[in-house]
């Protein structure tokens, strides 16, 4: 009886949670005229025209490609920078290490708007505006500290004696790191990559400011769909549905470890 009550509660919660997503899916399968004309709980005359338009119109699909390019670049850069940093924080004691560790996290607390103007000027000076690498680097501001925090937790869970045994066995630090240590924390690396991916994927402010057309992210494209005929709701909904897909895919792969990631590896 108890379990039943709980299941009902969970079902209601899940229903409320899924409602907006369902509504978006519903809209994405209808034409704009239909959406504005009739209220319907399900698409009476489902059409894939919105999706077809997104996949055919380069203004739309290039947004996805751009996003995926800079998000992937950012994930790789963040991991490459964070792995050695996290190892240092986890294994060595140096002057001001705890303060520096905390300072890293404060970078995540700062609102992106604070960095907007200096970044715009800096990237303009170097001629990086409207390139994928510009957005990828800008997102490192949030993702490197986060990656260091998560990875440090996972690394500290590996006993230090393993490092020492490897040195006694004759491993050099880089070789030990790549062949012994990285396989040990691959869960942590997966979780970290997921978090970097998600944060970079949903970030709009910096991505929109630093790009014009060549590296314009999908989120920016979606905010610029007002045309002479007004907003194209169906198209926007279809784009929204497609935006969820990559995140959902990544979550599927790391679903077992995500809780540990949220606890920064300290579970």
């Amino acid at each position: 009886m108890r379990i039943n009550k709980r299941s009902i509660g969970l079902a209601i919660y899940l229903g409320l949670l899924m409602l907006p997503i369902y509504w978006m899916l519903n809209m994405s399968l209808r034409t704009n005229a239909d959406i504005l004309g009739v209220f319907s709980l399900y698409p009476k005359d489902p059409t894939f025209a919105n999706y077809v338009k997104i996949f055919k119109d380069s203004a739309w699909y290039s947004g996805y490609i751009n996003s995926i390019i800079y998000v992937s670049m950012n994930t790789v850069i963040s991991l490459l920078a964070a792995l050695p940093a996290a190892y240092a924080f986890s294994r060595y004691r140096f002057m001001g290490d705890t303060h520096m560790f905390f300072w890293l996290l404060t970078n995540r607390m700062a609102p992106a708007a604070v960095f907007l103007l200096p970044f715009f000027q800096l990237y303009s000076t170097f001629g990086l505006i409207d390139t994928h690498i510009a957005v990828a680097l800008a997102h490192c501001l949030f993702n490197v500290p986060l990656a260091v925090w998560i990875l440090e937790g996972f690394m500290s869970g590996v006993s230090r004696e393993i490092d020492e045994t490897a040195y006694i066995d004759g491993y050099s630090l880089p070789r030990f790191f790549l062949t012994v240590f990285v396989p040990l924390i691959r869960t942590g690396i997966g979780v970290t990559a997921f978090f970097c991916f998600m944060f970079s994927w949903v970030e709009l402010l910096l991505a929109r400011t630093l790009t014009v057309t060549n590296a314009k992210p999908i989120a920016a494209t979606m905010t610029r769909t007002v045309s002479a005929t007004g907003l194209d709701w169906g198209l926007l909904a279809a784009a929204g549905v497609l935006t969820i897909v990559p995140g959902a895919l990544v979550i599927w792969f790391v679903r077992d470890y995500i809780a540990k990631g949220f606890a920064l590896g300290r579970v």
């Binding site: 045994t165 040195y167 066995d169």
Partner: protein, 374 residues
């Protein structure tokens, strides 16, 4: 290979982990570091391995100063108390890894891995991952990895502590045989006197970061030079009874009085501390000169097939180790017997003046132990 420590001190922030330790490990020698937890055994081993750098003092290996040399350049192998293996490698790769790093030929690696695995009885586990092994098998893998390297210095930091009793017994005996067949310096840290005695060799008694006594293990056991050494090298710790020698009599706490045993002849009348190991007490009289002591049972703990009986009498307390399982009630009055011939006598400053083992055995500090002037 030989290793010499010259007044090595290790401090971590304000804490002194080792204080001016000087010692010499001779080629092919088997050395036991015996001391309670926090006595500095692990600190000393880490310095021997080169994992840590001493705060002051020098470390010489084969006559060369190697103080501060990286562990990669030292010819050492080490086994930890925890079972440390590379979790992502199979047992085979774990054992082979030191040879792979040393770029040994593949055929040679295979031959040596199989040989070492054979010796440690893990041949059928070679294809497994360490997580699929029991604790004993994991430690065997770690031992195999340390042994295969044939390093000049083999360090074992309480390798059997985390194993259950039976496995420990089994591995202990095997280890002794393996060590005997090798030419390397073996350093074995333990808290257990019985383990030290079984492995033999040279013992270093450590306490609070200092080496208290050094010598052949059996000799140190027979002649613990100070009260502290006696306590460390007995399990349970040596019983200490304060008493006086008056003429031809020994008197302990006014209650117990017996004639001066022969090995204490010639001791000047004074206050002494008499040490007696728990197993020297007996519940039955075994010889006419046995002293009978009556005391109250404070606690009787059964450990394996032995019973530790904690007893007291008018403020003095002692522990009796009796073979077999004996359920005693707390508060029960019990008679125990002890042969005064088994008593160690320590003077006021805690130095050994008489040992029940009369025959003069060469000692590292003979002037303190065998001086007839006491």
């Amino acid at each position: 290979m030989s290793l010499i420590f010259d007044e090595v001190t290790k401090k971590v922030e304000r804490d002194i982990h080792l204080s001016e330790v000087s010692l010499e490990l001779k080629p092919g020698s088997h050395n036991i570091l015996l001391g309670p937890t926090l006595s500095g055994k692990t600190s000393l081993m880490r310095l021997m391995a080169g994992l840590d750098r001493p705060t002051s003092g020098c470390v010489h290996a084969d006559g060369q100063d190697v103080t501060g040399h990286s562990v990669r350049k030292r010819n050492v192998a080490m086994v930890y108390q925890e079972f440390i293996n590379y979790p992502s490698f199979t047992v085979y790769e774990n054992i082979a890894s030191p040879l792979r790093r040393a770029r040994v030929d593949k055929v040679e690696i295979d031959r040596r891995v199989r040989g070492t695995a054979e010796m440690l009885h893990i041949t059928e586990l070679l294809h497994r991952k360490p997580a699929e092994l029991s604790g004993g098998q994991q430690q065997r893998t770690a031992l195999a990895r340390a042994l295969i390297k044939e390093a000049g210095l083999l360090l074992l930091d309480e390798p059997l502590v985390n194993l259950d009793y039976k496995l420990r017994e089994e591995l202990r005996t095997e280890l002794r045989e393996i060590f005997n067949r090798r030419q390397t310096i073996v350093v074995y840290a333990t808290t257990e006197p019985s383990e030290a005695l079984l492995l033999g060799g040279t013992v270093f008694i450590l306490d609070e970061g200092r080496v208290l006594q050094t010598g052949p293990t059996a000799d140190v056991y027979r002649k613990p030079a100070s009260i502290r050494v006696g306590q460390i090298f007995s399990d349970p710790p040596m019983n200490l009874l304060a008493g006086i020698i008056e003429g031809k009599e020994v008197r302990i706490a006014d209650e117990i009085c017996f004639p001066l045993p022969p090995h204490m002849a010639g001791l000047a009348p004074d206050q002494y501390c008499f040490g007696v190991r728990a197993h020297r007490f007996s519940l039955t009289r075994s010889s006419p000169q046995d002293v009978e002591i009556e005391g109250r049972v404070e606690l009787a703990e059964i450990s394996g097939s032995e019973t530790f009986i904690h007893m007291s009498l008018n403020g003095i307390a002692w522990v009796v180790l009796e073979e077999g399982v004996h359920p005693f009630r707390i508060g029960e009055v019990l008679r125990v017997f002890v042969d005064p011939g088994g008593l160690f006598a320590y003077d006021g400053s805690g130095k050994l003046v008489r040992s029940p083992f009369a025959s003069p055995i060469p000692q590292s500090e003979p002037e303190e132990v065998n001086d007839g002037g006491y």
